[in-house]
């Protein structure tokens, strides 16, 4: 418990009678990079705003280093935020933007100068002190927003979709930079995004939310390889999701055929979701496969080809470095270990 720097217990938020966050528990350990991931409207930003103190939970408590901060206003929390649209002060130059928090703490000018210079170096924007906010590009403004938060040496840094407005290349660069900064500075990051790739790249731990509830918590590898339900499987990476039933442990019936699998503990003939990752499907000559289907579309994705294969009424998505041409008949097979069985939701 003690190494949980932020800990939320039974946290709920209701707006005008609509439950946005429903009784969730979450925590992040010191120096961890936690990502809260989910589609828009899932309650991830609201959760972050409650940690920052901009919103009060309707029920539940949030602890910071073991102390209840639920009713502490934002300006008294040792937490800083990088806002989605940067929220830099347009009436102040870059130097004064970064120095804002330090001036409130009444640090002397020399110390402020030193710290601002160090931050500008960290975000690679040396010499920008006198520039105006609106003369900077989106990427530069984002770096200043990060510098303005980090200069206060917060114990926890909150980031609300900070890379959302940047183009793809810049976003990838910033992902790596953010991760490096987090490692170097030893600060706990809580990062909110709807981009699953971003979450997988940067995080030590991911919380997946949907409709105000936590779907799964775990490391990126756990979440990718062992999704707990069809929502997670679908949201993280690409997935084939088929209806099936479990006649007995380690046996699953779908696509009119019984397959061997590794899951057990389901009721006899329970209806389940069968999840198979596109890269786990093996293609072969039609007669060598367990199932056969016809290739209906081929798209080159760089490293691999993405193929859609029509097998009976089902469409399979298959990723493979080798291409089967459109219209060709192919055999499909899956290893028992790659068939993931999940309880149906609702």
């Amino acid at each position: 418990m003690m190494d949980r720097i932020v800990n939320g217990i039974n946290v709920s938020k209701v707006y005008n009678g609509v439950a946005v966050v429903k009784d969730i528990d979450f925590w992040v350990k010191k120096n961890q990079f936690l990502t809260i991931l989910g589609p828009s409207g899932c309650g991830k930003t609201t959760t972050l705003r409650m940690i920052a103190g901009f919103e009060q939970p309707t029920a539940g408590h949030i602890f910071f280093e073991g102390l209840d901060i639920t009713n502490i206003p934002p300006y008294k929390r040792a937490i800083n935020t990088v806002f989605q649209k940067y929220a830099l002060f347009p009436h102040l130059n870059i130097y004064e933007n970064i120095a804002f928090g330090l001036r409130i703490k009444k640090l002397n000018e020399k110390e402020i100068e030193k710290r601002v210079a160090r931050m500008l170096e960290l975000v690679n924007l040396k010499g920008f002190e006198k520039r105006k906010v609106h003369s900077l590009s989106g990427g530069q403004q984002q770096r200043i927003a990060i510098a303005r938060a980090l200069v206060n040496e917060p114990k926890v840094l909150l980031l609300d979709e900070p890379l959302g407005a940047l183009d793809l290349k810049l976003r990838k660069e910033m992902q790596i930079e953010l991760k490096n900064m987090q490692r170097e500075l030893g600060i706990t990051f809580i990062y909110v995004t709807h981009d699953q790739e971003e979450a997988l790249t940067m995080s030590d731990k991911i919380i997946i939310m949907n409709q105000g509830e936590i779907q799964q918590t775990g490391s990126p590898i756990d979440i990718y390889n062992e999704p707990e339900n069809a929502f997670v499987a679908d949201f993280i990476g690409e997935s084939n999701i088929f209806d099936g039933t479990m006649p007995s442990d380690c046996r699953v019936l779908f696509a009119n055929r019984e397959f061997e699998c590794v899951d057990s503990g389901f009721q006899t003939n329970e209806s389940v979701d069968v999840v198979i990752r596109p890269e786990d499907v093996t293609l072969s000559e039609p007669e060598a496969g367990v199932l056969t289907g016809e290739v209906t579309s081929v798209v080159f994705k760089g490293v691999h080809y993405e193929m859609l294969i029509q097998e009976g009424p089902r469409t399979w998505m298959v990723h493979n470095t080798l291409m089967a041409p459109e219209g060709a008949m192919v055999g499909l097979s899956v290893l028992p270990n790659d068939i993931h069985i999940m309880h149906k939701e609702g």
């Binding site: 920052a52 901009f54 935020t81 989605q84 929220a87 804002f100 409130i104 906010v133 938060a149």
Partner: protein, 276 residues
């Protein structure tokens, strides 16, 4: 080409209703009465006499006072309005604006009956056994009339700026350790300066040139510059001197406005620590 043609009506309009009238006023101000035009600076020289300068000084002083009072009352009002729930906000803004739809003269007359010797205020006083007081025909009454009439012009621009302000900026300041007072001083107020400046000019300009308010609530002859101009045109029938005073007033307002504009631009555009 099309752009040039389509702006034609605008230029024509300006020419007929702005440029030509101003030229006429300039011509009048630079001449003395007579059948033919005779160039003279006599009107401007005459205004430099202490009697008239005193009137100008009094006008500026009372207009500055009215502006400051409007700012002191109007800013908090604008803040309350901007923070109100949207449902009530529309009604509250309406209530502020509706009196402006009523005739200006009528609104000022209403104050006469309130401040009168036998007016509502004095009746209230005598109800409590207090001695009657003279409210009307004082500088205070004029000031009250100005504040009452021009307050919405201060509130509305500030209110508009405040409602358009990005709430994330206020949250960012709080996030960086600023309490409510500091947020106001370092973020809200500096960012609302454009509204404050346009409010100040929209109150100061009519206040410095009004003659109706001082006429009704003071009644004095040479109370304000506005009265002086009115007298020249309607009573003394000296259009030349009247035009000269109008020109001087206009130049004075222009100078004040350009100083205000520069102030506003310094604060918002150039940034830096100069506002702190």
């Amino acid at each position: 080409m099309l752009k040039k043609i389509s702006s034609g009506p605008y230029w024509l309009w300006s020419l007929i209703f702005i440029v030509v009238p101003i030229m006429l006023i300039i011509v009048f101000s630079l001449s003395v009465p007579g059948d033919t035009f005779r160039f003279s600076l006599e009107n401007y020289r005459r205004f430099m006499e202490p009697v008239y300068l005193k009137v100008l000084a009094r006008s500026v002083k009372i207009a500055v006072e009215a502006t400051l009072i409007c700012l002191a009352i109007g800013y908090p009002m604008a803040m309350i309005l901007a923070k109100m729930h949207l449902k009530y906000r529309t009604i509250a803004v309406m209530l502020l604006v509706v009196p402006m739809w009523m005739n200006f003269l009528l609104r000022t007359y209403a104050w006469m009956t309130i401040l009168n010797k036998n007016g509502i205020l004095n009746q209230l006083l005598s109800l409590f056994g207090l001695p009657q007081m003279t409210f009307l025909y004082s500088e205070g009454a004029v000031l009250l009339g100005m504040v009452y009439n021009f307050l919405p012009f201060m509130v509305l621009p500030i209110y508009t700026v405040l409602t358009k302000m990005d709430n994330a900026l206020i949250e960012a300041a709080e996030d960086l350790g600023a309490n409510r007072g500091t947020v106001f001083l370092k973020v809200t107020f500096p960012l609302s300066l454009p509204g404050v400046l346009s409010g100040v000019s929209m109150v100061f300009m009519p206040a410095v040139s009004t003659f109706v308010i001082s006429d009704l609530l003071y009644g004095g002859q040479y109370m304000l510059v506005g009265n002086l101009i009115q007298q020249q045109f309607l009573v003394v029938n000296d259009w030349h001197f009247g035009s000269a005073i109008s020109m001087l007033l206009m130049v004075m307002i222009l100078i004040t406005m350009s100083i205000m504009n520069r102030l506003g631009q310094n604060g918002i555009e150039q940034g830096g620590g100069n506002i702190w």
